[in-house]
């Protein structure tokens, strides 16, 4: 009783499919020309050949690798649909010269009138490391090497047992890392990668997953996962860094792992990982000043409030707007050196000019640290909106943006300094590395 139980248990175990393996069955048929009906599951009459030359006999039959990329063949079974036409025939079946198995058959089956078809089954050894000589992604050759006797072959059904590892890779939205530097006026991007490795739809633990990009290294450099995949097949800790804008496709670099759908990352818009300090600034408005007047100062004809021109107004800020709406700025060409209230000359202009030469405009211009935000870049500031980096300032360092608000204290109504998120949108010079 116990013996039967053990036998049943053994049979049940043998019947279980090997976890992590798949099979691919297909037919090859290089034999034709025979004149009998040969009911071997093929297309019948004329579709066989014999080793004595009946029909177009060939001892080899090529086929293209039908397996998905990354597959590894571990077992080969070949059903050779045969007539055995001698008292005894012996032959071997090979795949690319590697023996599948040898068969000797003494069952004669060679009648046109009654043609029982023999399923001569060749079963290879198990090769966990891969069937020797199998050509992945290319042409393979099945061979029948007759040693004695005479056989006719209709077709061959081949079953390849293989393992296949695939990786599903997900990537976070790119960010601009904390303390990253600009390269050629381009921001640095980083995206965190998570890979899940499966083998025939089962999670595969213990795999050292490696990433690569279709754009090469550089521009895309990787921090590879420090640990092998866990019990869920997941590898964390991978990162891709780049300063090249555009789309990168990330896939597994392991030669035995395929990535059916590489992770596509668009390196363009991205949030800075660090929050920014947002402050606002204005230029002088004569309406905010009072006190003694000055008439015909150097470069101008008329009368203005003295402190508007010489106090902390135009002389300190570089530009200001008078009561008539004119923009007055320092005439650097005609001022003496050093520029002070004794040497300064003024002029009117169409707009106040920024450090980059652009026209300073409320609702558009911001001052930035050009080591952090590329000059000319468009950014979106939380609770402020889209602005362009056009100005700099001695006090604007690091993660600090000074938002230009316009002329006079009235322009600062409703403004309060805050820390917030900034998103890089585009631009910033010739970012073409």
């Amino acid at each position: 009783m116990r013996g039967r139980f053990l036998l049943a248990l053994l049979c049940a175990f043998v019947a279980l499919p090997v976890v992590g393996q798949q099979t691919k069955t297909f037919s090859i048929d290089c034999w034709s020309g025979g004149w009998c009906a040969m009911p071997c599951g093929g297309s019948g009459q004329g579709n066989y050949a014999c080793s004595n030359g009946t029909g177009a006999w060939t001892p080899t039959c090529p086929f293209n690798d039908p397996l998905p990329q990354g597959a590894k063949v571990t077992d080969v079974v070949a059903h050779v649909w045969t007539h055995q036409c001698d008292t005894s025939s012996s032959w071997t079946a090979t795949l690319n010269g590697t023996l599948i198995s040898a068969i000797t058959d003494s069952t004669q089956s060679c009648s046109c009138l009654n043609s029982p078809c023999l399923d001569e089954t060749h079963t290879s050894s198990n090769y966990p490391g891969g069937f020797p000589g199998y050509v992945y992604g290319g042409s393979n050759t099945f061979g029948i090497n007759l040693q004695s006797g005479l056989i006719c072959v209709e077709h061959v059904d081949i079953t390849l047992t293989y393992t296949a590892k695939t990786a599903a890779i997900t990537a976070t939205e790119p960010i601009i890392p904390r303390n990253s530097a600009l390269t050629n006026n381009c921001v640095q991007y980083r995206s965190d990668l998570t890979g899940v490795v499966t083998q025939n739809n089962q999670p595969l633990a213990g795999v050292n997953l490696l990433y690569e990009s279709d754009r090469g290294t550089p521009p895309d450099t990787f921090t590879q996962p420090r640990q092998a995949t866990d019990a869920t097949g997941t590898a964390t800790g991978g990162q891709v860094m780049t300063n090249r804008q555009g789309v990168a496709h990330i896939k597994a670099a392991n030669t035995d792992i395929t990535t059916p759908n590489p992770a596509a990352i668009t390196f363009q818009e991205a949030n800075w990982e660090s929050q920014f300090l947002m402050t606002g600034y204005i230029l002088a408005n004569e309406a905010d000043y009072n006190g003694p007047m000055v008439t015909n100062p150097c470069g101008l004809q008329g009368t203005w409030v003295r402190t508007f021109l010489y106090g902390n107004g135009v002389l300190m800020q570089g530009s200001g707007q008078d009561l008539n709406g004119n923009i007055i700025t320092i005439d650097w060409a005609n001022s003496g050196r050093p520029v002070n209230q004794n040497t300064v000359c003024f002029m009117t202009t169409d707009c106040p000019h920024t450090a980059s030469g652009a026209c300073l405009q409320a609702g558009t211009s911001i001052a930035v640290d050009p080591a952090v935000v590329p000059m000319g870049a468009s950014v979106n500031i939380e609770n402020v909106g889209t602005r362009v980096a056009q100005d700099t300032g001695g006090a604007i360092n690091g993660y600090h943006i000074d938002v230009y608000r316009g002329f006079g204290h009235a322009a600062m109504q409703g403004w309060g300094n805050f820390r917030g998120t900034v998103r890089y949108l585009s631009g910033g010079g010739q970012c073409a590395n």
Partner: protein, 117 residues
């Protein structure tokens, strides 16, 4: 008695059919580089109506390179292993209205293996 008559009629039919079938003397001249090849082993397979593999006739070419056999079949396969071991069973079809004597010049080295795919 009926069975005897049936068998007799069937036998007559078979014999008459065999007599009626055209018989051909097939002469194969074996050439290599346009030179006749004497003493070459030539294997000819002809259908015998019984075996899927047919009947193999082993011949040897004569001094003028000829190998000769007779058949009442319309198809046969030839192998010349010494000149082309890759192509076994090159097929030949005897035309419907062929004369009693049929001759082919064979250049086995030029045969290409046909792969049915």
């Amino acid at each position: 008695m009926k069975r005897f008559v049936s068998v007799a009629l069937l036998s007559m039919f078979v014999v008459c059919s065999a007599v009626a079938a055209d018989s051909h003397r097939v002469r194969l001249r074996i050439l290599d580089n346009e030179q006749a090849q004497p003493g070459v082993k030539v294997l000819v397979v002809v259908p015998d109506g019984v075996h899927t593999s047919g009947t193999t006739i082993a011949l040897k070419s004569d001094a003028e390179g000829f190998a000769e056999f007779t058949t009442d079949q319309k198809v046969f396969w030839v192998s010349v292993p010494s000149l082309n071991p890759q192509v076994l069973g090159q097929r030949f079809d005897i035309p419907e209205k062929a004369a009693a004597d049929v001759r082919w010049d064979l250049r086995p080295r030029e045969w290409k293996r046909e792969v049915k795919r």
